[in-house]
Amino acid sequence: MKETENRFVPPAGAAPIIQLQGVAKYFPGVVANEDVDLEVMPGEIHALLGENGAGKSTLMNILTGIYQADAGEIIIDGYQRTFATPLQAIGAGIGMVHQHFKLVQAFTVAENIHLGWSDTPRRASAAVLEGRTAELAEKFNLQVRPGAVVSDLSTGEQQRVEILRVLARQARLLILDEPTAVLTPAEARELFLALREFVSGGNAVIFISHKLDEVMEISDRISILRGGRKIATKQTAECDPHMLANLMVGREIVLADMRTRAPGAAPVSREPVLVLDKVSVVDGGGGRLLDEVSLELRAGEILGIAGVAGNGQRELSQVLTGVRRASSGQVVVGGETLNGANAADFAALGIGHIPEDRLNSGLAPAMSITVNAVMREYARPPVSSGGGYNPRAAQLLAVDIARAADVAIPDFGMPVRNLSGGNQQRLVARREMRIADKVLVAAYPSRGLDVGAINTMLRYIVELRDAGAGVVLISEELEELLNLSDRIAVFYEGRIMGIVQNDNPDIEEIGLLMGGRKKKKAAA
């Protein structure tokens, strides 16, 4: 079906639908975008490729009027335009379908299509709205059920409603953010057909993704972002996944090796301290969030988990710490199979957990620092004896933990949310390290921290490894993983794509695995 095995050639004499020149956006302390040029021609599907934090979302938010650029120009049909609001961008024919849909769940499809739209008739019955929706659906060849309530629809159907909503407003440029992440393969094929049809009428699509295969399949041209800058724009026909992975991950990774052990550090054990055996996690709708994951963690080693966020890392950390039960498969800790155990049992066995979302799941923000600091040890002496809880002993323990974390606290009774993010994270880390005799699961421990705080966190992790615990380090910073891990397991759609020894790592291979591709030589 694909007509674009060869070079994409825009219609003769056609002007770009949209053109960005030198666009930059700065946030305090962060360059989100700088010097980005981008040209989208009529009739093309233009893929935007990049890691988390490469600046894709910011760039699209500028294009759709959610942010305003700090420098550079947006040119549409030869005129420079600025969008103060998303409505102005929609008026100029730019529409976006976000990864997380922005539909009103309790409304019908027809109501959602007509919501906040100037073309909506002033007095409209449900029948009129549904009639109009049916016409639109036919015009754009997108099958939707106008009378159905959105919360009853599958994710694929909801996405069609979102797309129809955008197209109904006469969009000429449709931006899709990770559109296939929520779709089944069959739904994805349908989507691709609809996109092809849309661009054949002289419109264009910007397709944001990190999946190399699907980018290769659907796009005409590919632009790669890295570190907020555009690295290259290529004809898809001239690309191959290896080259894209290279461009996406880049080569200028600063290696500050923290893998060498201090003298006297515990050696890597022969027997694994924690084993996952074909562990799967299935969600309510039958989707596989973890798909037969098997791995072994040894004492005294750091196992890095790489992958684009949302590929099963959250579920992995939950299963490893007992917060969530595996739908099938086994979790074995120190030779003991833990089926039916809960998070408290895991913690009692010596498994610490620095959670991904520390403020919302690792802490009770409104409660005192003392209550938060003793969360792991409140049930044992000296804080508890029998059924009693001793606030004074709890505070003494909290003082200990705060001292180890090097956090100065004026009042242990004040809510923990009053601490800075870095101090909260240090407190959580120290609290977890105290119980992590066997294993520490650290999910994105450096997320949201400044450089100094990141260094402290990484030092803690190395310290724990040297003390003989096994560490599972989940991160989206490849640099961090390369600096600390002994091995790196790459996750993609809930599966382990491959485990790479980190002695002479092939960064290109990791990049390929993250994009869902195996390197050819690995198969041989």
Partner: protein
């Protein structure tokens, strides 16, 4: 002298002294406004105020009245406050109050035996009656995440009408003139000072007991953590659902006990409208106490004083609606005062 510009700054936590002052100011302003209202309608507010004070505190009868009135207010307030500890709004204390009164009356009317035994059974029946009344909302919340605000509220009407029905129908006193109430119960909670019965120390003791359990037991720590952030509790491995169920049942039981003490200690028979909206007033008591079980003793006393003042003012020709308006005004201003105590005015030199 140069005036700097004023700036409002929100503090992360309110200073306790300032918070207390804000509440005192709220009550004062409410009384002031009420006084002005009374003066406009041609009465002397100071004279009325003096009469309220002397009738409330001038004699032991006044103080006894207050003490009896405070019992159901502390207990229904405690019931709501306990629920708040785990993040539950028990709007159904009114219904649980009636259910407790109903169950205790059944024992008091139909179970033969020595007084002390019947009384103990009545205590049990009152508590269990309240628990039964909150059981369905509890299970719906714990297993299907059905909002307890609606389920507990709706059951209030059922319980109120049930008590009206039995006290004017099948359980009606057929012996004498009172045909809208049951006959006197066979057992009663003894009094120790005038009309003040043992429900008074029981209510205060229970509030202290609950406060101590929350602060000094592992159960209390876990309940507070679940109430503050259920996902953190789940992350540590605390059985969230189990605690939710026990705390909601406890809340219902305490409200049921309030109903039992009201009929067994104060009224001595079951009749319709026996609650005087104590269940709903309990919500105000708990809010005024900021969900603190110890605070409930004091806000319960304040509420009893306001209600009692209302009764006294009625004898002076003011209507109940005026008293209700003053009560509402105090709550309204307290809420504003609570919020304002988080702010500080700072002056910047221009």
């Amino acid at each position: 002298m140069q005036l700097g510009s004023l700036r409002l700054q929100r503090l992360p936590s309110a200073h306790p002294g300032i918070a207390f002052a804000a509440r005192a100011a709220a009550i004062l302003i409410a009384l002031l406004v009420a006084g002005v209202g009374v003066a406009i309608s041609g009465m002397n507010p100071f004279e009325l105020g003096g009469r309220v004070i002397s009738a409330s505190f001038g004699s032991s009868f006044g103080i006894e009245d207050l003490c009896v009135l405070v019992i159901p207010l502390i207990l229904t307030g405690l019931a709501v406050a306990v629920g708040q500890q785990i993040g539950i709004w028990n709007i159904g204390a009114e219904g649980q109050f009636y259910a407790g009164a109903f169950a205790a009356s059944a024992v008091g009317l139909f179970v033969p035996g020595p007084q002390w035994m019947v009384l103990i059974l009545m205590f049990g029946a009152g508590f269990v009656g309240g628990m039964v009344w909150i059981l369905v909302p509890t299970l719906a919340r714990a297993y299907a995440n059905v909002n307890e605000l609606i389920t507990t509220l709706l059951l209030n009407f059922v319980a109120t009408l049930l008590v009206y029905y039995v006290s004017t129908g099948p359980w009606r006193d057929r012996s004498g003139m009172a045909n809208s109430a049951t006959p006197p119960l066979s057992a009663e909670v003894p009094s120790f000072w005038g009309i003040v019965h043992w429900g008074f120390p029981i209510a205060i003791g229970l509030a202290i007991l609950v406060a101590a359990a929350l602060a000094y037991s592992r159960w209390g720590y876990e309940v507070r953590l679940v109430g503050s952030n259920p996902s953190a509790a789940r992350y540590v491995g605390i059985p969230v659902r189990k605690h939710l169920i026990t705390v909601m049942l406890l809340s219902g039981g305490i409200a049921g006990l309030a109903g039992m003490l009201e009929i067994a200690g104060t009224v001595h028979r079951l009749q319709g409208g026996i609650s005087n909206s104590f269940g709903y007033l309990g919500i105000m008591v708990a809010v005024l106490a900021r969900g603190s079980p110890i605070g409930v003793i004091f806000s319960g006393a304040l509420m009893a004083f306001i209600l009692n003042s209302g009764i006294i003012l009625q004898t002076q020709g003011l209507t109940t609606s005026v008293v209700l308006a003053i009560t509402g005004f105090i709550l309204f201003l307290t809420a504003i005062g609570d919020e304002l105590s988080y702010y500080r005015v700072t002056r910047e030199r221009a």
